[in-house]
């Protein structure tokens, strides 16, 4: 993943960059599988590696294929800034509990109840589904509305323009 990330930064050809981001998502999905988060890995592989790559390619088809060269003199401050941010993030992770620690705060709150009770209350073998669709159904409803709104936004900005242009073309053809 590190090699892919560096390649994404260095390469100027945007087509290769988009393909490499897809590869990056696929590697991230593999890591999620190693951490036993199969549902998340599924989503990452389908959305990150699949659909978003295609959407980026679609955007490239509308714009140019090559990245414009940026100002070189900004490289040093940018490097310092990213090193500081990275150091702070790593410092922040020092306080985090170890991976798989049973005493971590996240395993103390509602997770035991979901794991113990969902078989009796909901009766589904996949606890992820019962948490997403039943215990947290308000959140999932909100997510569905977010996706709906996103598609509406795309339609409002670029979806309807085409039809209007078509109409104009028809009108122009009618005039000529």
């Amino acid at each position: 993943m590190l090699v892919t990330a560096f390649a994404i930064i260095r390469i100027r050809n945007l087509f290769s960059v988009v393909i490499l981001t897809g590869l990056f998502s696929l590697l991230a999905a593999a890591i999620y599988i190693l951490m036993d988060a199969v549902d998340v890995a599924f989503t990452e592989a389908a959305v990150g590696a699949g659909v978003s790559t295609v959407l980026m390619l679609g955007t490239l088809a509308l714009t140019t294929n090559d990245e414009k060269s940026t100002y070189k003199n900004r490289a040093v401050p940018a490097a310092i800034l990213s090193i500081i941010t990275g150091a702070m993030l790593i410092y922040g992770t020092l306080d985090m509990p170890n991976y798989g620690d049973a005493k971590a705060p996240i395993h103390q709150h509602v997770a035991p109840r979901y794991l113990n009770q969902s078989a009796q209350e909901i009766g589904l073998p996949n606890v992820v589904t019962s948490v997403l669709a039943s215990y947290r159904s308000y959140d999932t409803l909100g997510e569905t509305f977010v996706i709906f709104t996103a598609a509406m936004g795309v339609l409002a900005i670029i979806g309807r323009g085409r039809r209007r242009r078509k109409k104009e073309n028809v009108e122009q053809e009618a005039k000529t």
Partner: protein, 147 residues
């Protein structure tokens, strides 16, 4: 991918044959993920994306216009709203049956059956909306830039 390349792609025989062979299986896998999400990994969101990926593959190989013939604009636009409507409708239905909003226990006599039915319907709503949203967004992007 430039538009000219896209047009060339419509003449690639291997791609056409292989994608024609693959698309039914992608659709079938999407349906499997949709209805089997209760028991294995997956659910409405993933299923919607996979289902939409089949149409996006078709659009990449055969062009946007042929895809629009298969899935007209009004279907995806209605589907967007229908998915959200199914989800919120389940919530309102439970409200009328005397329970809290989106508490599926009220949907059947047995609370567990109610939960199963509610989750199935809600996942269907998510799947329909996600699938239509992905197709809409892709076609809005890919259909642009053409006169």
């Amino acid at each position: 991918m430039k538009r000219a390349e896209m047009r060339i792609m419509q003449h690639k025989v291997v791609l056409r044959v292989v994608s024609k062979f693959l698309i039914p299986f992608i659709l079938l896998f999407g349906l499997y993920v949709q209805w089997h999400g209760d028991f294995g990994p997956g659910g409405g969101f993933q299923a919607g994306v996979i289902f939409a990926a089949a149409f996006i593959l078709y659009a990449l190989i055969f062009g946007v216009d042929k895809t629009r013939q298969a899935v007209p604009a009004w279907i995806t636009r209605c589907g967007l709203a229908v998915g959200v409507f199914i989800y919120a409708g389940v919530g309102v239905a439970t409200l009328f049956l005397g329970e809290n909003f989106l508490n599926y226990n009220a949907l059947a006599h047995d609370p567990i059956h109610g939960q199963h039915l509610g989750i199935l319907l809600v996942e269907l709503g998510v799947g329909v909306t996600v699938c239509c949203a992905m197709i809409t967004i892709f076609i809005a992007f890919a259909g642009r830039g053409r006169k």
